[in-house]
């Protein structure tokens, strides 16, 4: 074996710049190339996501319209649009309808239904579980234009399937109970997400905890209350925030009722579409959009807080 070779003449003080000439990340990418990798995505996001959001804030302060003089030279009108919104009963009507829609279909409908299915199916395997879950998921993945029409057909007043099943001639839920209709529809449509989330959460409840509760003689309800809920509390909150956000921004009711009859299902998402794009009052529409953005922001920040505190 060779003895220590005489060391080559190397500079005693090393040149710091030279030592840092190459990058030390796993692939040797370096910041420059990494920047180039990130740039295209950021450019698209900036132009088609961030910029519109900022612009909506600006538009809300103008009297912009699609046609007419205000289209050529929009003027800043300050908070007029917001004042107009706040004093417009149609806006408050839409807000109230949205609250009903979110509370009814997401917070109550999807959560309760999703949890119930997950709970009923928790220890099962085999065809029954697959059939139930498959149908619930099918309702969720089908295109919204298709399911909307399916519900139109189901609830139709001359010869819809529901009417035939119930033998109620003249029964027209979309006309007589439009809000209830879209609430039931959205519960049906979205229960899959809650079902899967709670299914996963229930799978994480240690069986030993449930067993010891059962050994102690706890009833089904007591097991739920004392063992299951404490374990999945975090999941419930996550689920509530996410589906509230999605339902709040959901445009699908439009495809069932187009906001009607008589504005009875004109939730905020549909309201914006009607005033801004049909009524062409872009400035006023943008003001309502700003309100939607702010509500989204509050919910999202709350949700991210929650995610962070979990880590």
């Amino acid at each position: 074996m060779a003895q220590a070779t005489s060391p080559p003449e190397a500079p005693e003080v090393i040149d710091e710049a030279r030592a840092r000439r190459y990058s030390s990340d796993a692939a040797g990418l370096g910041r420059l190339r990494a920047g180039a990798f990130v740039a295209p995505a950021l450019a698209l996001i900036a132009v088609f996501l961030v910029f519109p959001a900022l612009w909506v804030l600006y538009l809300g302060l103008t009297n912009y319209r699609l046609t007419g003089t205000a289209a050529a030279e929009p003027k800043l009108v300050g908070f007029d649009n917001f004042v107009k919104a706040v004093s417009d009963p149609a806006f408050w009507n839409s807000t109230w309808l949205t609250v009903q829609f979110v509370l009814g279909s997401a917070v109550i409908g999807q959560v309760v239904l999703g949890f119930t299915i997950a709970w009923l199916m928790r220890d099962r395997t085999g065809p029954l579980k697959r059939a139930v879950e498959g149908l619930v998921i099918l309702a969720w993945i089908l295109p919204s234009a298709v399911v909307s029409f399916l519900w139109v057909a189901l609830l139709d007043r001359d010869g819809g399937t529901l009417q035939a099943l119930l033998h109620l001639p003249g029964f027209a839920p979309l006309l007589d109970h439009p809000m209830l209709s879209i609430v039931v529809f959205n519960t049906w449509r979205g229960a899959a997400f809650s079902m899967m989330l709670y299914g996963a959460a229930l799978g994480n409840v240690p069986p030993s905890h449930l067993e010891s509760a059962r050994l102690a003689g706890a009833s089904g309800w007591q097991q739920l209350r004392d063992v299951v809920f404490p374990h999945i509390r975090g999941h419930i909150l996550t689920n509530l925030l996410l589906i509230s956000l999605w339902t709040f921004n959901d445009f699908t009711p439009f495809m069932l009722t187009a906001g009607g009859p008589d504005g009875q299902t004109e939730v905020l998402a549909v309201h914006v579409y009607k005033v801004a794009l049909l009524g062409q009052e872009l400035g006023y529409g943008a003001a309502v959009s700003t309100v939607i953005l702010l509500i989204n922001l509050v919910v999202a920040v709350f949700y991210l807080r929650l995610l962070r505190s979990k880590k």
Partner: protein, 272 residues
Amino acid sequence: MTRFVLGRIGFYTLIAVLLAFFTIPLLWLAAAPFTSDPTYEVRVPDFTLDNFTAILEHPYALPSLLNSLVLAVGTALLVVLFAALAAYALSRVRLPGRDALLYALLLLSSIITGTAAMVPLFQLAVELNLIDSQLGLILILSGGLLPAAIFMLKDFMDSTPKSYEESARVFGASPLQIVRHVVVPLVRPGLATIAVWAVANVWGNFLMPYLLLSDVEKQPAAVIMYTLYTEGGQANLTLLSTFGLLYSVPVVLMYLFVSKKYGFRFHGGIKR
């Protein structure tokens, strides 16, 4: 004992009600396409295939499916490519402001929805001459999907050990060789997931094409479907039933494929 029997009966009654609730609205889609002269009411089909000729005769039905495909594939390619590049760089290189950027992306993707941004997006499309442009729509849809895609892919890449890349690097592979030989094969399941997610999202999206494509020849199936049942007198149920079925089948196949192949179930944030 009686309590047990009652419990069983209760359980199966509940299951039956649930099954009925979820099945009845879907029955029409299964039966009507194969029933002669379908009505709104579900009837036992006589298994005719004649209804499908209605689609061939309709001038916009089949082209709209093609339009949907173009939009979905175009957006998926763009999203996968851009998100993969960005996620890889963000996962492996300590770029200044990286954490803030990721946080902002996550926040943005959840607050700027189609609903909140429809007014300025419409405006932007008018200004940039992107109304009635499929490319424009693809860009807009990609912009909306990218933040979530980057986030999911970065998570995926973070959980892929760096030692593979480092090992290749010690052997002398260049960064691009490393990406081609090592990274892409390793994260392929993640890329496929994002691609499927993007396709599913665009395939079902109604609002954006409804706002931005007024030329009926460019409209995707979602818009044509809506037009078919809202516009003009008596809806053509023969056409609606078969068209709805054809439009739905790819989504179902994709779901089955993905859940078979990756054991993957649509999870949080996967769909709005």
